[in-house]
């Protein structure tokens, strides 16, 4: 199925969880925050949240800034 990941089209397995997406991106265990369709998705819910076609996902991390 197709989703929008960080503003770009991205293909992943039907019914994949957010946790599975994070693992596939090799971001498991890294300090990231996830927004799903404009709302924060708490880390604790990543395993139980299944993505749907067309979902918009943002995954952010901290970088240098002032």
């Amino acid at each position: 199925m197709g989703v929008i990941l960080n503003g770009k089209a991205f293909d992943l397995d039907d019914g994949a969880t957010v946790e599975a997406l994070i693992a596939r991106l090799q971001l498991a265990g890294r300090r990231v925050a996830v927004e799903l369709n404009g709302k924060i998705l708490p880390r604790s819910q990543a395993g139980a949240t299944r993505l749907k076609p067309g979902d918009a996902i943002e995954i952010v991390h901290a970088i240098g800034g002032g």
């Binding site: 952010v60 901290a62 240098g64 002032g66």
Partner: protein, 276 residues
């Protein structure tokens, strides 16, 4: 309250020279220098400069992860660990109140519920001046949502008071445009903001060198936040150390209370008892 009747903020003039800590939202800090993590050559230089600055509060930005490009790449928060530093996520790059609020919510999730944020809502790319109506709107929403807001703003004493009244935990007027290195352009406004405030006032942005930081502290500011002045110095680690000392020197000069300015000379040696 009219300027004539406004109480001047209490000054510490202890002979011991002992200072109070900087307290922001109930957290105490001995360092009054806050530093950013942008524009460094690499994470190693970032870590060494921050170490040399003695800063305890360190700003970071939030950006999208580079999908598929950051495997094994070191992470900023590995070299600036939240267990050691108070991380202050910013909303740099946000030009609307909504984007800034959204960024703060992502930051809170990223940092396990840590509610302290540096709010900035920018007006245009050339000046990076704050969009004050949008900043006021974002601050109001963030305070309502439980954030501890340190707000980057213009050096407008009326707006500064408004941010304080709405519950911001620190007000951070600019010295000059972000990254300009021009130093404090309106020290009388900064002074007025400091005198009227009952929350910490920190100069944020525009400092270029150590004397600029010292002037901010001599005016009575509670601290200074800077990034480019350190990161763009030819030797960032040495400049970080210079800034640490400038902040301490300026603070001590403020606490000591400077001598009055005189137009003419006042001899330092006794004028009587001369041998001729």
């Amino acid at each position: 309250m009219s300027p004539d009747t406004a109480p001047s903020r209490p000054r510490v003039l202890e002979r011991s020279g002992a200072d109070r800590p900087l307290v922001i939202a109930g957290r105490s800090f001995t360092s009054r220098l806050l530093v950013g993590t942008g524009k460094y050559k690499d994470l190693d230089e970032t870590a060494r400069a921050i170490e040399a600055s003695g800063a305890q509060i360190v700003t970071v930005a939030l950006r999208r992860t580079n999908i598929g490009q950051n495997k094994g790449e070191p992470n900023l928060l590995d070299v600036i660990p939240p267990s050691r530093y108070t991380i202050l996520p910013n909303t740099a790059g946000c030009y609307t109140a909504d984007d800034a609020v959204r960024t703060c919510r992502l930051a809170r999730e990223l940092l396990d519920g840590h509610p302290l944020v540096k709010l900035e809502v920018l007006g245009d790319k050339k000046t990076l001046y704050p969009d004050m109506p949008a900043t006021l709107a974002a601050a109001e929403e963030l305070v309502k949502d439980g954030f501890e807001v340190m707000v980057y703003c213009t050096d407008d004493p009326i707006a500064a008071k408004r941010f304080e009244d709405m519950g911001c935990v620190a007000v951070m007027p600019l010295a000059a445009p972000i990254g300009s290195g021009l130093g404090i352009q309106n020290r009388y406004n900064i002074l007025t903001i400091v005198e009227n405030a009952s929350v910490p006032i920190l100069v944020d942005a525009g400092v270029g060198t150590a004397s600029d930081a010292a002037i901010a502290m001599e005016l009575g500011c509670d601290g200074v936040l800077m990034n480019t002045a350190i990161a763009e110095a030819k030797n960032p680690v040495l400049m970080a150390s210079a800034m640490k000392h400038a902040i301490i020197a300026g603070r001590e000069a403020f606490l000591a209370g400077r001598m009055p300015r005189r137009r003419y000379a006042s001899a330092s040696s006794p004028e009587s008892g001369l041998p001729f």
